[in-house]
Amino acid sequence: MAKITPLREAVASLVRDGDTVALEGFTHLIPHAAGHEIIRQGRRDLTLVRMTPDLIYDQMIGMGCAAKMVFSWGGNPGVGSLHRFRDAVEQGWPRDLAIEEHSHAGMANAYVAGASGLPLALLRGYTGSDLPKVNPNIRFIDCPFSGERLAAIPSVRPDVTVIHAQKADRRGNVLLWGILGVQKEAALAARRGAIVTVEEVVEDLQAPPNACVLPGWALAAVCPVPGGAYPSYAQGYYERDNRFYIAWDRVARSREAFRDWMRRHVLDTDDFAGFRRVLAESMREAA
């Protein structure tokens, strides 16, 4: 059974320097609170995996947590570039960032293969793209039946996966609904286990029979963090705060502004509730 435990303890006991870590959430249910906690605890040399690195990885990269990123699309959705990611790739600041780059189809299949305990994923993909020229983990094999050439990529097997979900029951069974992305596969692909932050813990999930439920016994930790997907959204709980995404562009453009912002909002706060309080202050100041 998953331990229902504070996020700080879950990160402290499960995420280690040098780990491969996937924080997933496809524009919906992005585990921002967990990303902050990893930054606060000063994890280093992580290989960060995520289909759509956005603000959460911009922050982790800018704070020097990451040695490598595995991804398929990096940007501030609806706004523009990730300045901290670009600074790391283009200028090596605050440190060099190795990248392993796939397509969405490749990453999604690699998570499925990881959840399935397979060493590789096969897909009809990457043909005509230059990605195989720059990513030695994209290879091709011939189908023994049809002779067709298919792309093969290694499965994604993070040490730890972190996702956010709408709710859990007291036994740690987790329900997520709406846009599901690759969260189920990412959680099940983790070798050491998955950390799931949730909006609330309830007596009864009230889940439809075929809902996306992750059984508590298949998870490493379930951590109540109301609002933990902010500034992304949690369907049924709160909307995406698009002002934050727009404002982030300005914060992240300069190294100094970024560092100051992270210190005030993340390093000098105790937890995500503290972050939200300080953020409310700074947004009032800016208004």
Binding site: F26, T27, H28, M51, T52, D54, F71, S72, W73, G74, G75, N76, P77, G78, V79, G80, S81, F85, R86, V89, E90, E101, H102, S103, H104, A105, A108, N109, Y111, V112, L123, R124, G125, Y126, T127, G128, S129, D130, L131, V134, E148, R149, G178, I179, L180, G181, V182, K184, E185, C212, Y233, Q235, E239, R240, N242, R243, I246
Partner: protein, 286 residues
Amino acid sequence: MTPGVTATEIMTVAASRLLKDGTVCFVGIGLPSAAANLARLTHAPEVVLIYESGPIGAKPAVLPLSIGDGELALTADTVVGTPEIFRYWLQGGRIDVGFLGAAQIDRFANINTTVIGSYDEPSVRLPGAGGAPEIASQAKEVFIVLKQSPKAFVATLPFVTSAGHLDGGDARARAGIPGAGPTAVITDLGILTPDPVSRELALTGIHPGVTVEQVKRATGWDLKISPDLTTTDLPDAATLAALRDLQARTAAAHGTAPDSTPGTTPITTPITTQGRAGGGASGREG
């Protein structure tokens, strides 16, 4: 003619017209999403919109800011996981039209959304592939919509992220790529379509008030002009009203406007290049 129509509006409407009713369309965020939803709200009510985040049959009342907005989930016939979208629906051969944006394209409609400069030491790091490589290869056909400029329409791509017609001719088929590839590139200046044999893009449609010389100047190679060049019909009043309503609803809902918002300076003819994004990253996916 409706006064005040912008180049972006003409582009969006021209792109939307290409979507036939009942088409199953895999939609990229930004301009493709605006055009596809406009089609759904006007001449193609039965168009099926699929987004890579999982919604199948999405019918958003406002345009999504991101590829995974809750509005898409709540209005869809069903929402599946992202792996299923790419496995059962795209790779399964069920997509009629892949509707993509791009940062750069070349004369064979190959797409770059990865880097400007060299891959290892890029001068500009773009967002990357997203769903495009497999959408571009597996949809039965592909429409590309982007604003036209010498930085976006380049003679040689620094990086081919997603295959168009590769080196032209039958190169795509020889590479074993299943779909027909890009059949139309819709810009703010006109419409480019590939030659049936060489697969090189030629200007086959030009928007009202735009000159051929203008289009050539906005293209980084010696653009071929179709002998049968036609002029795009201006949006009719009802379509334009539908587009503007959609944009207004979107702005009201999000407190901001997506990429496809009309430029700030309404124009009729000549169309200016004001408000264009140029050759930078298409930052609208996500």
